[in-house]
Subunit: 353 residues, 2 copies
């Protein structure tokens, strides 16, 4: 029987609650589809600081690198925000992404018909919307050297090399092939040299994908178009900081961030996590929405473990549960038949599987 | 009688049509408020390239610097997009901003009750919204050195010094004092050193403005919040590229970019222009919406010439014309009683004055 080694990072706040539900659902589909999953838990973020003194213990780096994929909850909280920069949860997170080599961050933004009212955008603007944002995750201004702050002057460097652009470009083109075959590359080539190289490289690369249509958009216009007419997009590919901004904008097209999963993939391993944070304000209350994490687990099955059928089963179960009016508290305002807590939503999804 | 010297740059595409209407309206209020305006026209952008060989002739730089303020239409068009970088309209525009020392770009996003349906956002989300985005305009990654593209590796530098942050911060705090007294500073201080200096400096500066509430927001969250709940914002202050992106997002809160003016101010002179582009596709058809340019002229009266009464008169006339159902073609779908062309809309606003 096929077995996969999954590393688990529950993290802080609502992290443990939502990851537990995802594991429950994973076990249910595994059983149904005849494979097994072995889990090993590692520490990161605030809880790692409290337990080991550092946000990213070496053991976590080792363990995740040696696993097939990592399922991740969320990290951080006010408690650790005043620590020196090198000890903060975010620093751990960035180092983690870099060490895992996960250069491609995939963030799907899919509007479910049942929740078309959950967005602040008008239903007719978003109905049927299905966007995949592909964000470069371990380069650009996040990691660029030199960087400095002497208290009078501070700077960072936004830098890309051609191979970095090619590999993220390939990810986007390959994904588009399985979708509507359109890639929109977002940059600021009318101002930035680094964007000009980005654009030139994407144009070159597109010759290898004659079946995929490539277009270019400036980042300011892209931010605008995501609000004006999000349905025009299929795959969006962009650099690290533009992707940070645009994927959050795209999430607002869907509206409820409790529904949005993400994948961070590369050549070594992959990390799957909800896009929302650790929500310390509702941690422990049992009311968190586990769907984003469960959908992240579904992405893991599809993109890393190649268990497409199991992945589809989860997605369908979630759609069915939503269609039948089951909601967590954050979605209670949108045609709820019954409002479930975190554990009950996990159970409900298992039922539908 | 008070007289002001206004430099005029009509530019490309619809630029000439819309600027002509703004001048018409300016003359009408000047007459009513007992001052005079002298205009002098200068070339920039595509038309400057065609006429003089460069996008920003020295004569334009000189002329605008020696004027009280500049009323600007729009520049650019496909025709000039393939020119080498140093000859492109955008390069001229950036050089122009730098030479004019206009470090503060003000972009109000005000939702008119009459056009509350023009946005893709739900009316209840935007009704009554009144945001002022203050974007740093002559620093940051747009102008940072070093910058390079060798065809394999390319980079830009995002840099700010404390005095640069202080002067834009002051602009924001002063503006907030005349509004709802709240400034939200947007950065990415959890990742970037340049943002940490930005945040520290804003905190320091806020001590001089105890009557204004300062908050901070990460740029990804700000992009999201502008869509989720734009009414939470009063004044937003941010760096050059974040401001480029966020002000375009904010414009979508209003919906119709034909209504959105901007001001670029500094210690030497000021430039007033609509936020929309030169729209070559409709140039010469006479159907362009002149309101954004007319509102820019109203900002000029208020912020540079201190003719507040004249400015209010224009704003009120526009509100009245909209309330009575007069629309240009771009707004025809929103409760139009009569659709006017560009010249007729200018005339109508003069009538209301
Ligand atoms: C927490 C922060 C460093 C992170 C980022 O900017 O990448 C977050 O915003 C994200 O998008 O995962
Ligand atoms: C044309 C471009 C260089 C410019 C900018 O990025 O500043 C434009 O987007 C703007 O916002 O005025």
């Amino acid at each position: 029987m096929r077995n996969y080694n999954i590393s688990i990072i529950k993290g802080d706040g609502i992290g443990p609650e939502i990851v537990d539900e995802a594991i429950k659902v994973l076990n249910a589909v595994a059983k149904k589809c005849d494979f097994t999953l072995s889990y090993k838990e590692y520490l990161m973020g605030g809880i790692a600081i409290d337990t080991t003194g550092v946000p990213l213990p070496d053991e976590t780096v080792e363990g995740v690198l040696n696993s097939d994929a990592c399922l991740f909850g969320a990290i951080g909280g006010e408690k650790w925000d005043t620590l020196p920069r090198e000890l903060r949860p975010e620093t751990g997170l960035l180092k983690f992404r870099e060490k895992m080599g996960v250069y491609a961050n995939l963030r799907p933004a899919i509007v479910y018909d049942e929740l078309v009212n959950a967005s602040t955008l008008k239903p007719e603007v978003i109905k049927g919307c299905d966007i995949m944002v592909v964000r470069e995750l371990i380069g650009g201004i996040y990691f660029g050297q030199p960087r400095e702050n002497d208290g009078f002057k501070a700077f960072n460097t936004m830098v890309y090399t051609k191979p970095e652009i090619v590999r993220i470009g390939k990810t986007a083109f390959e994904l588009a092939r399985k979708r509507s075959k359109r890639v929109c590359s977002v940059d600021k080539a009318n101002v930035l040299e680094v964007s000009q190289l980005w654009r030139d490289t994407m144009n070159e690369l597109s010759k290898d994908y004659p079946d995929v249509e490539l277009s270019h958009m400036y980042v300011d216009n892209a931010a605008m178009q995501l609000v004006r007419n999000p349905k025009q997009f299929d795959v969006i590919v962009t650099g690290n900081i533009f992707g940070d901004i645009l994927s959050d904008t795209a999430s607002m097209v869907v509206g409820s961030i409790g529904l949005l999963p993400s994948a961070s993939t590369g050549d070594k391993t992959a990390i799957y996590e909800p896009i929302h944070g650790s929500a310390p304000d509702i941690a422990g209350l049992g009311i968190a929405n586990p769907i984003a994490t469960i959908l992240s687990a579904a992405m893991m099955l599809k993109y890393t473990l190649n268990e497409e059928k199991a992945s589809d089963l989860i997605e369908q179960a979630i759609k069915d549960a939503l269609k039948d009016g089951y909601r967590t508290k954050d979605l209670a305002a949108f045609d709820a038949k019954e409002v479930l807590n975190c554990v009950a939503m996990g159970d409900k999804i298992v039922e539908y599987i």
